[in-house]
């Protein structure tokens, strides 16, 4: 019994060390700015004033961060606004940004595939094995993937504890399986870390974007980034963004030709 109490205290300590109580939505006045902008944007949209709706939603994103506002929904609505403004590539970029925040946003996925098809781009999810695996890996947000690792590690600890106390072939095998499951649970987390660490841009220019050696119009054209392609953002100057696409040499593209996916 003493041992069991010790295990329980240890687990409780681990859980307390890791968790905090769920954050309640702040009631401060500052938080209302973003939400109010969003709600007014919805009203404007319903009233037929799409341009105002778009401006208000952009203001909602630019306002001080509000934990009560789901930025993925704002990006999603901005995607609809871009589509209605006859800008399919920008719409695809907004939906891609929404999915980066909320990977399981079903409507964003549906609209993304719709606008990509209309824009003549390949589907975001080609349906092959690679695309399916990639989508599975990105199903969880960073926080969710971290919690998955913690939960698997705790379960593994419990199995190891049971094996330490009781021994036996069955518990040993379950502990091994638990270790493997924990190791596999690390994969989405590592993938999330890798993706979150990258600041990416989406090429929204219909004719694609020219990759130039220097941030000036007369510079040498190194390559051409196709419309709808994604590049890693390295640096920026007024009117220009330095990017690297596919591990090639970095170059500069015009700021208006690309769309920052980190929102």
């Amino acid at each position: 019994m003493t041992v069991a109490r010790w295990i329980g205290c240890a687990c409780a300590w681990i859980v307390l060390a890791l968790t905090a109580s769920p954050q309640a939505a702040p009631q401060s006045v500052a938080g209302l700015g973003a939400r109010e902008a969003f709600e007014r944007g919805v009203q404007a949209w319903r009233g037929g004033d799409r341009e105002s709706a778009r401006s208000l939603w952009l203001a909602a994103l630019d306002a001080p961060a509000d934990a009560r506002l789901d930025r993925a929904e704002v990006c999603y609505d901005l995607g609809n606004a871009a589509w209605r403004a006859q800008k399919p590539l920008e719409a695809a970029a907004w939906y891609t940004a929404a999915i980066r925040i909320d990977p399981r946003h079903a409507d964003a996925w549906a609209n993304l595939e719709f606008v990509r098809g209309a824009a003549g781009l390949e589907p975001a999810d080609r349906g092959d094995l690679t695309a399916t695996l990639r989508r599975l890996l990105s199903l969880l947000t960073l926080a969710e993937s971290e919690w998955l690792v913690v939960i698997c590690a705790l379960a593994w600890s419990a199995l190891l504890a049971a094996h330490a106390l009781r021994g036996g072939v069955l518990l040993r095998r379950m502990a091994v399986v638990g270790g493997l499951v924990t190791a596999v649970s690390l994969v989405p987390w590592i993938d999330n870390l890798r993706r979150n660490g990258r600041d990416e841009v989406f090429v929204v220019a219909p004719a694609g974007a020219g990759l130039q050696s220097e941030p000036r119009g007369e510079a040498t054209n190194l390559a051409h980034l196709a419309a709808g392609s994604i590049a890693q953002r390295l640096d920026s100057l007024p009117g220009w963004v330095q990017v690297r696409a596919g591990g090639d040499q970095p170059g500069w593209v015009r700021e208006g030709d690309v769309f920052a996916l980190r929102r």
């Binding site: 041992v3 295990i7 939400r35 590690a153 600890s157």
Partner: protein, 592 residues
Amino acid sequence: MRSMNSRCIAKIAHILCAFAVLATALFAQGKSQARITAQLSTGVIKLGASATLLVTVENAAYSEVRGLPKVDGLEIGPLSAPSTRSATTYINGRVTRSDSRTWGIPVRPLAKGDYTIPPIELVVDGAPTQTSALVLTVVEDLKGEELGFFTITPSTHKVVEGQPFSVELRFGWDAGLRDRVNYANLSLPWWGQLPGTLDMDPAPAAPGVRLTEIQLNSETTIKVEEYGTTTVRGRQFRTFRMIRSFTPTRANPLEFPTSFLEFGRISEVGDFFSRRQAKEESYFARAEGFQIEVVPLPEQGRPLDFSGAIGSFKVRSVAEPRDVDAGDSIKFTVEYTGAGNLEFFEAPDPARMDSFKGFRTYGKTESKFFDRRTIVYDIAPMSPDVKEIPPLPLSVFDPEAGQYTTVQTVALPIRVRALAKGSGLEVEGEGGSKSARDLRDIHSEALATLKWTRPGPWGIGVALASAPLVWFALRSVARRRGDPDAPLERRRRKARKQLMKRLAAARSAREELDALHDFLAARTREPREAWQGRDVKGYLLTRPPPRPSEGDVAELDALVRELERETWAGSGTALPRERIETVSQRLIGGGL
């Protein structure tokens, strides 16, 4: 546990070693693609004449000859500086560069006989290697020109790189010699040693032609076609023929040194213990050497889609079926025939042609023969607007005309019917419905749900590290009371379960007593014999705590006595099972 750990470690070590070996082998394989050839300028020479041994190394960054072999009866050397040659080719966007170094080593015979020149040792790109061994026959006199004949006729004396050519060997001897000839050997110094060429598979023999096996370079045998007797120089000769084809891969002259046909009679000599074959008579017929010039493909006029096809080709095509629904597969078969490198050019790809934009290409299968190449494309028309399969072009360099031409199929009319519920293939909605599609509407609520604090890398590290720590700590604590994984402990834990099982099957007091003894022995980690005839009260009440209560011990003692009485002095009737189970349960609860 320790043995299992060391077995696991050994298994992991074995797997890592296997990976290391495989990686090394793959690395070594991919490291050098150099090709080494060696040939003699002639396979048969007269005493007093000399031959040249040519050693060629292709596509190596560095190569050198380590030393020359010594052969009794031959003077080989000296080694002089090599000659070098480089060539660059561009085909279908691919650039291929080839370099070669050739050493010419003089060989002077000192006595007649058959000699085997051992392999020449070289160092190529840092790795030691060697050529193949070569055979040289030295004779006093080359008689036999009037008794035999040997001609080698190339299909052409000038080709472009990539254009196949063939050499026809015709040889034979006077039909009147009959039994005086029972062996023949072709001495072809260039056989398998032509640098910058690919040997092509020989065409199958014509039906009804007899094949005869003769020696080749005194080392191996080869099958040649026999044509009975033909008239040569006004006399009847027993005639043979062989055709070999090659494809040059780079622009350089190909030297075919003088070749010899040796024919005559051999017999077995020796005694009972050792016998060998000796030549009684030998005759030689010579085919003069020649050269084939290989020139590079011309750059001028080369089409952008040129994929390496060289020759004079004809093409025909069929398509089945011709009446399909939109999206259905059509097998479009294209067959190329003619003289040229049918096996080597890249087949045209309809998926990359604007004329085929009304089709979707799913793939192709190919079959290649020496005289034809057949490609079957799997294509599907996407709408009823498609009325025909357009011509499929192939850019070809025609060596006869000396220019690039286009060979294409004819347009094949087809009929494409619309799908039953739509006008063509489009992106379908969910459930396969054909209704109009639009975006999903905006979301008017953007209230974020519960947000949890991230554990972060430190939290994950703590959780992962705590698992083995917990295991070590608890294991140490648990082992103070004995190894929970030890056989005795496992037996102890299973004791009650085993007791219940055996009581359910017991049919006599003896079986119940044995089951009870086994249970008690397992719980106290002793053998069964320790409990046979034991004073239960005296043993259990004097054990250190924890121990069962006096009442439970008394109950057990009474139970054991009754079982023993029934077993040894009574009728052997089994006691009620529940009583034994209850006693055992109370004993365990009491700390047994």
